[in-house]
């Protein structure tokens, strides 16, 4: 089935947050600091205030107070992620481009001009932004300090660091640089105070409810007084998962000038204001027996965070459960620097961790003289070795077999540099990905109208995966109604609650609520026909009825048949409305371990003289439960693979540490991959349901689409060249 909103998107009819026009709307531009640490000595806003069209210049001395800011829960402790930088509360500078003022004017151009006129003098302090020079300052996250059993805490299964005393071992360090989400759509918000205690925001966000709650708390107004509209989101990859200072800046500005205010970040500001995948250092030690059984893994990681917020991610989770190893040690630390706070970026943590773990697997296999696919199969585990639980479902072996056949894995030679295409060296590599098959709680309202159409509503978002399309299909299948008669509305806080669109959980979460709503509708329709004066449906139950093409019929005697529309007419009902909530069964989660899996295969060619790298073929295979829509699921896999190509070969932010300021902050200097970097990418699905996870049998795809891609490419480059590159991105200069 095609995307339900495909036409709207390609014709420009889809409306994104910055595209709304409200009467009397003003425009705001954020001004950032030019130092990384210190305080504002003086702020000259006179010229900006006097510039034509300027309505206000807000900063720490005059900005409206945010009443909720006073309530920091534990003022003496570092804030966990999710409590963003408090805007304009004092003159302190925590990172380069720290917001120091917001300029509001009647037009965007005037606001942009006046923003350039704001000048600050600083008391500069010595900043620390260089990860490598500060690793000694890394510490155990507070959550793990308080509770050693916390998933971020140190983990030992069997003997600690057991690989060290083994004869056959590897020990390697891996580095990934800071990477930026860079969705096509810039972060933007329109803030509109419809009354003194009533706020509406048209906001780019993945979290309708999260945004609503955050601003209600900030401004101490009832939750229902905050309306969040995010009908379309032009990609986000995680940077719309919590609220950011620019959103508060727009809300403050709207309050101050008493007009709706639009604020859209510049592409440059996307590098400092809305998070990133943090720079990470990792070390893996691994040992194995001669016949390929892993005996021990130690995986350590340090991830970058800011000085004012503790950002953590599950970098090491997969190392604990992916392979059979009896001895596993993991240690996770975070390193605060004078930079802005990171945020989850597609495959958060796991994509970082998989680069190290799956590269190390390849290194170990090479030491053993073993095919890396065979090595993984030998160490495949049929139960979760961390939790000692069975998997809900796991079809990773099937996915591996599909992928190996499609890429032509048999062409791979154990010894690097053996396969050539003219002058070019050809190599094959693989990498495995996994991510928790998450499911949350969501509510869906479903209204069957007397014309036989169904409208469903829920406050989820669609950041691109095709949520609306998938929900329509789930409803079509469950209710027996053609998809063209179904509409799924999302992206508004007026709809029943759904969690943020993150963690690959939307289809499992909201799809289950759609399933429940359809079941409820079927139940209601059944009661209606069973009670009909016409006795042809006598004794009808949901089980003995057939729901198909918008009709209900008795399975045993199909001549008794009524359309949904006629049933409503008979009852004299204009519509039939149900609202259903779906919650995962907690007891099942104690009995089973639930994960999605992917395996990626890459074929690369490397030029031995110039270091040029071409990814010539990629096959990404997933065990993601039932595939609702092959097209949108395939898009997810291909998009993730392209993201992984970026991670492996092109993406990485560079900072000049003398200034603590990025030098790569536009799309010309920060290299997201382009079409010329991406080959034809095949995506294959095992497509077997996981009915323990949810009634639709789905498991998430978004994260596993990228997790494991970067090591697949790095491993293929090793197979082509014999060069093991452990610091991303792998650019031509590293291969000559």
């Amino acid at each position: 089935m095609d995307r339900v909103d495909g036409r709207l998107k390609v014709t420009g009819a889809a409306k994104y947050s910055a595209e709304y026009e409200l009467p009397n709307m003003a425009h705001a531009v954020l001004v950032g600091s030019t130092i990384a640490k210190g305080s504002i000595k003086s702020l000259d806003t006179k010229r900006a205030e006097n510039a034509p069209g300027v309505l206000a210049v807000l900063h720490y001395q005059n900005a409206p107070k945010v009443p909720g800011y006073a309530q920091a829960a534990h003022p003496t402790e570092p804030k966990p992620v999710g409590q963003p930088l408090q805007l304009f509360i004092d003159n302190q500078i925590h990172f380069n481009d720290h917001p120091i003022a917001v300029v509001v004017a009647d037009t965007l151009e005037r606001a942009m001009y006046a923003a350039k006129l704001v000048k600050a003098q600083y008391n500069e302090e010595k900043h620390a932004t260089d990860f490598n020079r500060n690793t000694a300052k890394a510490f155990l996250p507070t959550a793990a300090k308080r509770n050693p059993k916390h998933p971020l805490g140190d983990y030992v299964r069997g003997k600690e660091d057991a690989y060290k005393i083994e004869p056959l071992k590897i020990e390697s360090e891996y580095v990934i640089p800071t990477e930026f989400h860079n969705p096509m759509e810039l972060q933007s918000i329109i803030a509109h105070w419809e009354a003194a205690d009533k706020l509406t925001v048209y906001d780019k966000t993945q979290a309708v409810m999260g945004t609503q709650n955050a601003f209600a708390k900030d401004w101490k107004i009832p939750v229902e007084n905050v309306k969040v509209i995010a009908t379309f989101v032009g990609g986000a990859f995680g940077n719309g998962l919590h609220t950011w200072p620019h959103e508060t800046a727009a809300i403050m500005a709207a309050k101050k000038v008493n007009r709706p205010v639009k604020l859209m970040l510049t592409r440059e500001q996307m590098f400092t204001m809305v998070g990133y995948r943090p720079h990470a250092w990792q070390k893996v030690g691994m040992s194995a027996t001669k016949d390929g059984k892993i005996t021990a893994i130690t995986h350590e990681a340090i991830g970058q965070t800011s000085s004012y917020e503790e950002f953590t991610e599950s970098t090491l989770q997969q190392t604990r459960m992916m392979y059979t190893s009896p001895n596993v040690t993991t240690r996770y630390r975070i390193l605060p620097l004078d930079v802005s706070t990171p945020i989850w970026m597609r495959g958060p943590g796991e994509a970082t961790g998989a680069f190290a773990l799956e590269s190390a697997l390849d290194e170990m296999a090479f030491v053993l003289g073993m095919d890396p696919l065979e090595f993984r199969l030998i160490n495949h585990t049929d139960k979760d070795p961390e939790k000692n639980l069975p998997w809900s479902t796991k079809y990773l072996k099937e996915a591996m077999q599909m992928g190996a056949e499609r890429i032509g894995w048999s062409k791979r030679q154990l010894k690097p540099g053996m396969v050539k295409n003219g002058e070019w060296l050809v190599g094959y590599g693989m990498g495995v990905g996994t991510f928790g098959a998450n499911r949350g709680r969501a509510k869906v309202k479903a209204t069957l109208h007397k014309d036989g159409t169904l409208v469903m509503q829920s406050a989820t978002t669609d950041i691109g995966p095709g949520t609306g399309t998938a929900m329509v299909q789930i409803a079509a299948q469950n209710l027996g109604l053609p998809p063209e008669k179904i509409v799924f509305e999302l992206g508004s806080s007026l709809y029943p609650p759904s969690p943020s669109q993150g963690g690959s959980a939307t289809v499992a979460t909201v799809g289950s609520a759609v399933h429940a709503a359809c079941q409820a509708l079927k139940q209601r329709l059944t009661s209606m026909v069973a009670g009909n004066a016409d006795t042809s449906f006598k004794g009808a139950t949901v089980e003995n009825l057939t729901f198909k093409d918008g009709y209900v019929s008795m399975t045993a005697s199909p001549s008794a048949r009524l359309s949904f529309a006629d049933i409503l007419k008979q009852q004299n009902l204009p519509e039939l409305e149900v609202t259903e909530e779906s919650t995962p069964d907690a007891s099942l989660r104690q009995k089973y371990s639930m994960y999605s899996y992917s395996v990626h295969f890459a074929e690369v060619q490397v030029h031995p003289l110039t270091g040029q790298i071409k990814v010539t073929n990629m096959v990404s295979c997933a065990d993601a439960g039932t595939i609702i829509n092959a097209k949108t699921a395939g898009n997810q896999m291909v998009g993730g693979a392209v993201g992984g190509i970026g991670m492996a070969l092109t993406e990485g932010a560079v900072m000049d540490h003398r200034f603590g300021r990025y030098v790569t902050k536009d799309l010309a200097e920060y290299h997201v991959p382009v079409h010329a970097d991406a080959p034809n990418i095949s995506s294959l699905f095992v497509n077997k349901p996981d009915l323990i996870n949810n009634p639709n049998g789905t498991k998430g795809i978004g994260e596993i689409a990228i997790i494991g891609v970067a090591p697949a490419i790095a491993n293929a480059i090793f197979n082509a060249t014999g060069k093991r590159i452990r610091e991303l991105p792998i650019t031509p200069d590293k291969l000559i």
Binding site: M112, G422, L609, D656, E669
Partner: protein
């Protein structure tokens, strides 16, 4: 809003006079670089003289040259039959630059005039002698992976970002210029400058001088040519190193060669010594390697661009191999 005047004359003389009289006026053609620089506050001209109405788009044979009008679009030149026949090296270089969208906006004259892509030049919060003389070179002790290994000074180590320029310098192109004091011809190798003590001056054009056309003399380099660009991604990225190589072969003997590099200096970098060495030699990888070593004499790298000392000669060898067909 930053106010500037905008005029669109239809006669070259009017355009030239306007800019000649006004130090704060600049010509604008495709605008693919200038508009970005204005948005960032790097360039703040008070008057834009749009030259798009001037009749400077033709590509024609003229007196033993292929004459390319200053307003010919990069994309159009790359696909032009005459260019493909007489100067395939130029077509290859043009297609290696930017993206299809940019090539369809950018002009040949504008491409010659594009400014450096050094991040310190672009960020007004950072030091840059080119943007603000006397503030220092941010790249010298900063991030200099993309920077020069030839002809730099302690005032500036940025590189000319153009691909087209590398081919044009190799092909002995001549720039036809018209100015307040009349017309003149500038050999391509003398059009761009080394930074020296005045990196803020980026070409040898005088105020008000307008590029009318570029002449590329017809030559024997119509077959054995290669423009090889090594970059961090396969499109829309500036060169780490690029090489324009052209050979006139007699069997397997090199009669003459043209060779230039991009991504290594503040101007497109012609390799005269290596060219002379190649003349009369057999077209073998060993010969190419010796030429490449000659070409790298005097190269000096910085903290992050030392790889260019290896990638440079390797790319020369590979471009010569590609041009000659020597496997």
């Amino acid at each position: 809003m930053i106010q500037f005047q905008y005029v669109k004359p239809s006669k070259p003389k009017a355009a030239i006079d306007t800019v000649a009289k006004d130090q704060s006026a600049v010509f604008i053609a495709g605008g693919t670089n200038l508009v970005d620089l204005m948005k960032r506050g790097v360039m703040n001209p008070e008057k834009l003289v749009d030259i798009n109405k001037l009749p400077l788009r033709k590509i024609e044979r003229e007196n033993g040259n292929v004459r390319i009008g200053a307003l010919a679009l990069n994309g159009a030149v790359a696909e032009d039959k005459l260019v493909l026949e007489k100067h395939p090296l130029l077509a290859q270089a043009l297609n290696a630059g930017a993206s299809a969208q940019l090539r369809n906006m950018a002009t040949v004259g504008g491409n010659m005039m594009q400014r450096v892509r050094c991040p310190y030049f672009y960020d007004t919060a950072m030091p840059c002698n080119k943007r603000e003389p006397g503030t220092g070179c941010g790249a010298l002790e900063g991030y200099n992976r993309m920077h020069a290994i030839f002809g730099h000074s302690d005032k500036c180590i940025a590189v000319n970002p153009s691909d087209m320029n590398v081919a044009l310098v190799a092909l002995d192109a001549v720039v036809l210029v018209s100015g307040p004091k009349g017309d003149r011809k500038i050999p391509f190798a003398e059009f761009h400058r080394l930074p020296g003590d005045t990196p803020q001056i980026h070409t040898n054009l005088q105020q008000g001088e307008l590029i009318m056309a570029v002449d590329v003399p017809e030559n024997p380099y119509t077959k054995n040519v290669n423009y090889l660009k090594i970059r961090d991604r396969n499109s829309y990225a500036f060169a780490l190193v690029s090489v324009a190589a052209a050979l006139d072969l007699d069997g397997s003997t090199i009669k003459s060669a043209r060779l230039a590099m991009g991504g290594v200096a503040h101007k497109p970098w012609r390799l005269n010594e290596a060219e002379q060495f190649l003349a009369g030699k057999p077209a073998t990888e060993a010969t190419f390697r010796q030429a490449a070593q000659l070409a790298m004499r005097g190269a000096k790298a910085f903290e992050h661009n030392k790889f260019k000392l290896t990638l440079g000669p390797n790319t020369i060898v590979q471009a010569l191999k590609n041009a000659s067909g020597v496997a």
